[in-house]
Every structure is written in structure tokens, then in C-alpha cells.
């Protein structure tokens, strides 16, 4: 186990999660990056799970990281906690305060705008609503393409030579984006419109911390079909 900051080396790490969740995926990638051994517990019915209710009574949601007996909730919080606790692995957030602020800004944007639009496309009640959500999502992609160019500075990831906070925040959304592409026929990440993101996505998928935990796309498609019983998923 890597060197830890202010924590008991023997403290057990558990992660309560669900395989389709992009938020859970973030935390698994972070733990893999830092080579932290952990027990993964799949929660099939989070609303009725005793563990979930016990460790996250406020939101009743996964992921929940339990370190020793202390629960840490919310995916980005967990990623930051992992980064701050296990110091010997590669850093997830940059060291410069301004770059850290930029990384945090974009992950908030990804949650509040990107993910909201992805959901918007999935749950749209009619064609008009769906078109609007698709338009919004395309705008997000254009902005993230620009951000990628600025942050990567010619290197492979938003984080530079290795995956970082924005890579994890956005990379976890690649699965849901691919599912939407399949059902809507719209290419959100495209070799012509978003060339940076297009090649970055391949590198992200191939990363050793990502590959073992990225859900299979066909399984995700089937999951979406069952969960979002709306016209586009037939």
C-alpha cells in the first residue's frame, strides 16, 4: 500500500458502487491509479440498501468509499480524498493552485451541464425536448474540445502526460455518451469536430487504471434500454 497521509496503514478500504454508474467509475479509476487495494461491493438496489442508507442517509446514493469506518461520499470528493490520502501514487490534481482551480471548475461544469444534458436526452418527453438536449450536449463537447487543447498543451491527457482530475471526471461519461450515440445516431465525439477528444478517448480507454473497470458498452446499452423505457431506447 502506498504512503498515506494521517491515516492508519491497516485501515480497510471498501467501495459501495453500481457497475453502470459513471460516478462510481471515477472512484475506481482513482483507487487504481494509486494502487489502493479495496473491496468492491455491488449495490443493486441503492434505495433499499441498508448499507447505503446507513453510510449516506442524506442522499441515499453511491459511490460511498468507506475507509476504516469513515464514509466519504460524492464522486469528486472521493477522488480528491484518494488523491490527498495516498500520496505516493501519481497526483490526480495538479500542484499549482490556479491549475487546480481550473480542474475543479471543469469537473463541476461536466456534472452540472454535460451530465445533465446526457440525462436530458435520455428522459426527453418529445422530439423537441430531445433536440434541445442534444444541442446543449454538442455545445458542451465543443467547449471541452477547447479545454482539452488548452489543458493538455500537446500532451495526451487533460492532466498532461498522465490522467488527472478532468480526465477522470469526463472520461467516466464516455460510456453514457457512446450509448446515446448508438440510440440517437448523433456523434458527440467526432474525429472532425472534436479531434482532440476523439483521440484522447482512445488513450483514456486504454489506460491501465481505466481498462479493467470501464463497463462493457453492450451491457451499458442493454442497461439503458431497461432503465429509460422511452422511444429512443427501443
Amino acid at each position: 500500500m502506498g504512503q498515506m497521509n494521517g491515516s492508519n496503514n491497516d485501515e480497510y478500504v471498501r467501495l459501495l458502487g453500481a457497475w453502470p454508474s459513471p460516478f462510481v467509475l471515477r472512484t475506481r479509476i482513482a483507487l487504481n491509479l494509486k494502487r489502493v487495494p479495496y473491496e468492491y461491493l455491488e449495490e443493486e438496489d441503492t434505495l433499499n440498501s441498508e448499507s447505503v442508507l446507513n453510510y449516506n442517509p442524506v442522499h441515499k446514493q453511491i459511490p460511498i468509499l468507506i475507509h476504516g469506518n469513515k464514509p466519504i461520499r460524492e464522486s469528486l470528493n472521493i477522488v480528491m480524498y484518494v488523491d490527498e490520502t495516498w500520496l505516493s501514487g501519481p497526483p490526480i490534481l495538479p500542484s499549482d493552485p490556479f491549475d487546480r482551480a481550473v480542474a475543479r471548475f471543469w469537473d463541476v461544469y461536466i456534472d452540472e451541464h454535460c451530465f445533465t444534458s446526457i440525462n436530458g436526452v435520455a428522459v426527453a418527453k418529445d422530439e423537441e425536448e430531445r433536440k434541445a438536449a442534444i444541442g446543449k450536449l454538442e455545445q458542451c463537447m465543443a467547449l471541452l474540445e477547447e479545454t482539452f487543447q488548452e489543458c493538455s498543451k500537446g500532451r495526451g491527457f487533460f492532466g498532461g502526460d498522465n490522467i488527472g482530475f478532468i480526465d477522470i471526471g469526463f472520461g467516466s461519461m464516455l460510456g453514457p455518451l457512446k450509448v446515446l450515440e448508438k440510440f440517437t445516431g448523433v456523434k458527440f465525439i467526432h474525429s472532425e469536430n472534436t479531434p482532440g477528444l476523439f483521440h484522447w478517448a482512445d488513450r483514456f480507454y486504454a489506460h491501465e487504471a481505466v481498462k479493467p473497470v470501464m463497463p462493457d458498452i453492450e451491457k451499458l446499452v442493454e442497461f439503458a434500454r431497461l432503465k429509460f423505457n422511452t422511444s429512443i431506447f427501443k
Binding site: S7, N77, R104, Y109
Partner: protein, 227 residues
């Protein structure tokens, strides 16, 4: 780098703007406050925060930092050797502080704000009950986080005190308008006392708006149709 010029684009009535102002005061960082006019957005704001076009924006040597809680962390990290630590030092306590700050913004404040738009007595009562529920949760969070000390952060005000305390002005305005106490000695004894201590803090006092002035401002902005 830390000695480069600091400007803050904001507005006196905004609780989100208050957050970085308190943080800058805690670190004794001099800054130029660029007040936005209500109802319009300056060129500088649009250029500095093109994605959201919202205040606050901190400009440090002309580099923009956006989102109030992110700015507070930036201030803590940049002026780390000046003044008390704003974020707790232990990663678990930091995770707790960030968790509760997000809860306050995403759930508690959203309920508080919706009191203004609630139509009819029934809806108002329901929303007030929701805010009360949230405040009760925060009362418990205070007891857990403070561990018997005066603030969420311990002996000094910190990230979570700032994240919640910035809403005290608007909370008081809402209490007056709705005729309903949201923080009081019976329902929320710990938070009640904490609120007084927070407002008295020298880093907070100069930037906490006067309740009467805020109430007058609220009347003005909520009288108009929402854009």
C-alpha cells in the same frame, strides 16, 4: 505570484460573492472590489467568465478563477502561509466540509430560494418545512464537524462556516418576510449561537450586508418578473 494584484468582480448583496471576500479578509489580502450593476453584466465579467457569465470571479494577476467555493480553496492554497487555514488539514475532514458545502448549495439554498416563488399559503408552508428539515440536518452536521468547538472548522472560521454563513443575511430576510424562524434557540440551538459568532468575526463583519438594506433590495428584485 502571491503578491500580484487581486481583483474581485462581485456584488454586495450576493452571498456567493461574500465567500471569497471573507477568505481574502482571513488571509489579509488586499484586493480591488469591482461592483457589478444589478441587471447588467460588465465586459470584464463576460470576458473573465465566458462559460457562466456569473459572479464572483477572482482575478489574480489578470488570471480568472470562477465558482465561489473553488475561489475559496484557491485563496487558501495560494496564501497558505498567511492567516489561519481555511480548509481543514485532514483529508477526511476536508471531504466532510466539501460534502456539506455541496449539500448547502444544491439542496438547502435551493429550498430557501424557492420560498420567494412559492404561491399560496399551502405551498409556502411545504417549502418552509423542507428548509426546516435541511436546517435540522445542518444542526447535526455542525455538532459532528465542530466537535465542541465554536465553528464548523474548529477554533477559527473555515470553508464550511463560510459556505453556510454567507447565507445568514438572506436567511434573516426570509424569516422576516415569511414570519417564520429558521434558526432559533429551541430548534437549532448550536447553529443559533454559531450564527452570532460567525457574524461577529472580524473577517465577516465588514462584508455581511445589513438586513434592512438586503430586505429593501429583495423587495426590488422580487417585484420584477424573473428574466
Amino acid at each position: 505570484m502571491a503578491s500580484d494584484q487581486v481583483k474581485l468582480i462581485g456584488a454586495w448583496a450576493s452571498p456567493f460573492v461574500m465567500r471569497p471576500r471573507i477568505a481574502l479578509n482571513l488571509k489579509s489580502v488586499p484586493y480591488e472590489f469591482l461592483q457589478e450593476t444589478f441587471g447588467s453584466k460588465s465586459e470584464l465579467l463576460l470576458k473573465s467568465n465566458p462559460v457562466h457569465k456569473k459572479i464572483p470571479v477572482l482575478l489574480h494577476a489578470d488570471k480568472p478563477v470562477c465558482e465561489s467555493n473553488i475561489i475559496v480553496e484557491y485563496i487558501d492554497e495560494t496564501w497558505s502561509s498567511s492567516g489561519p487555514s481555511i480548509l481543514p488539514s485532514h483529508p477526511y475532514d476536508r471531504a466532510m466540509a466539501r460534502f456539506w458545502a455541496a449539500y448547502i448549495d444544491e439542496k438547502w439554498f435551493v429550498s430557501l430560494r424557492s420560498i420567494q416563488t412559492a404561491e399560496g399559503e399551502e405551498e409556502k408552508k411545504a417549502v418552509l418545512a423542507q428548509v426546516d428539515e435541511g436546517t435540522a440536518i445542518l444542526e447535526k452536521a455542525f455538532i459532528d464537524c465542530s466537535k465542541g468547538k465554536p465553528f464548523f472548522n474548529g477554533d477559527h472560521i473555515g470553508y464550511l462556516d463560510i459556505a453556510f454563513g454567507c447565507f445568514l443575511g438572506w436567511l434573516r430576510v426570509t424569516e422576516l418576510a415569511a414570519g417564520h424562524k429558521l434558526l432559533d434557540e429551541t430548534k437549532t440551538p448550536s447553529l443559533s449561537k454559531w450564527a452570532d459568532r460567525f457574524c461577529d468575526d472580524p473577517a465577516v463583519k465588514p462584508v455581511m450586508p445589513d438586513t434592512a438594506k438586503l430586505a429593501e433590495f429583495a423587495q426590488k428584485i422580487f417585484a420584477k418578473p424573473q428574466p
